[in-house]
Amino acid sequence: MIRLIDIQKSYDNGTKALKGVNLRIDDGEFVFLVGPSGSGKSTIIKLITAEIAPSGGRLMVNGYNLNNIRPRQVPYMRRTLGVIFQDFRLIEKKTVKENLTFAMRAVGASPREIRKRVPYVLDLVGLDQKGDRMPSQLSGGEQQRVAIARALVNNPKMIIADEPTGNLDPMRSLEIMMLLERINELGTTLLVVTHEKELVNRFSKRVVAIENGRIISDETGGYYNNETTI
């Protein structure tokens, strides 16, 4: 579960990125976070992943109070999250399997756990036949599937996807979104940041719209119809 209570964030250059944001995401939800560039979407993601600290307000992520989290606890908090990026961020010199193994190694998984979990997750994202390929040998959609598999491999409570379809064509984008929906149905909470109106409208999910550092709408089952926010 994520709770942002009156969250404010000012950067050193004086920019006020967030001006009193209140947001609650319960376990098992699928939430789209939408808004124009510079609205504060990325700041929310960075706050949730503890890359930056809030300037004011209270922030709880999966049982961790990020207002006074100790640096040593941050890795353990991050293990409750899986993060997917627009540019995939795969390690180019490792195979698909090695990219997943590496993520499991990073959290201290045993070789036995790795041998069991990696094929299962690759099968889930439809890449069971491509585990020995290098990322450069895969299409954009397949690379994003590897990134999803990596986010999923440590069985996180929540997956945060930052513009996951930004580099993909509409067909591949739809496939990726359907995959994320399936992962959500299996019990993982999803927070998807996106610009893509058609894609958001295609799925009847909760949509949180943010503009100028403030949440301007939050409707469960709502649609992303406000043209000014694109």
């Binding site: 890795p75 959290v107 201290g108």
Partner: protein, 296 residues
């Protein structure tokens, strides 16, 4: 999942990454080899200079004249008393007849010193010292030995040696420290350059929930391996260069006064110092280089 530290994995990751980032690894090893060679060569020159100073110092001596009323047998027997004085390495007895011969040989052709009566000279000891800087104290102690009438020394030569040795020692220490600092700086920057390409990799590891220790260990092992490889390569190159330069100096007539110490007796120590320095600069450079990238 509980955290476990699998050092076999860290070692294999460190080893693997040397090959996957081959060019940067090669550059880091080259830097380590160059720095160790420069430091090693300079240190070996300093060791040889120190050895030559010691040899020259060992030649430095003062003379103790024995009371002329003491018969020659008794004078010779004073050798044990003199050698018992602290800092005296050995005492060499010279009879007055030998002294006269030596003196006349030295001033051959000089009429002033010809035909001097034998009783002008006295029995004497040439006294050699362990530490030339303690000449004055040792000379005073020898003067206290019963039967020694007088002593004669050249304290300015001893002081000259002491000053040169102190300056050479200080210069050697300062230069080695400067070279070590410059080497660390260059190597840390070379490794930083190598690590810069991997900042994305580190960021991904951190985002997956890796602890700083988990990220650091493969880099430490990589640095240790690069340091070890650099040290071994530098050791053999150093050996070759030393032998080549040593042979060139030995074969040169004009500088035959310079004696070069053999490398073999020093080899183990040189290898030990190179490996230790290689480890320190390899692992230290890696740690310094990734510090910045861990702040994710």
């Amino acid at each position: 999942m509980r955290q476990r530290y699998d050092f076999g994995y860290f070692l294999s990751e460190g080893f693997h990454s040397i090959f996957t980032h081959g060019f940067m690894s090669f550059a880091a090893v080259c830097m380590i080899v160059c720095c160790l060679l420069i430091m090693g060569s300079f240190t070996l020159v300093a060791v040889n200079a120190e050895s030559m100073f010691s040899d020259l110092e060992a030649e430095n001596q003062f003379t103790a004249y024995i009371d002329e009323t003491i018969p020659q047998d008794e004078a010779r027997a004073l050798q044990d008393d003199i050698e018992a004085v602290p800092n005296v390495s050995r005492a060499e007895f010279v009879t007055k007849e030998q002294a006269q011969e030596d003196f006349e040989a030295r001033y051959e052709g000089n009429e002033l010193f010809e035909g001097l009566p034998a009783d002008t000279y006295r029995d004497r000891f040439h006294i050699y010292l362990d530490d030339i800087s303690l000449l004055a104290e040792t000379e005073a102690a020898v003067k206290e030995v019963a039967g020694v009438a007088d002593t004669q020394s050249a304290p300015e030569i001893a002081e000259g040696f002491t000053v040169i040795r102190n300056i050479a020692g200080a210069v050697a220490v300062i230069l080695v420290v400067i070279l070590l600092a410059v080497s660390l700086f260059i190597i840390a920057n070379t490794i930083k350059l190598a690590t810069f390409n991997r900042r994305e990799e580190i960021a991904i590891m951190k985002m997956c929930g890796a602890t700083n220790a988990f990220v650091r260990w493969p880099f430490v092992f990589e640095g240790l391996i690069l340091g070890l490889v650099g040290a071994v390569v530098a050791f053999f190159l150093q050996w070759g260069i030393y032998v080549l330069v040593g042979n060139a100096i030995s074969g040169e007539d004009t500088i035959s006064l310079i004696t070069v110490l053999p490398f073999q007796p020093m080899a183990l120590r040189v290898l030990g110092v190179f490996v230790l320095t290689g480890f320190v600069i390899g692992a230290g450079g890696s740690l310094a280089a990734i510090r910045k990238f861990l702040q994710v």
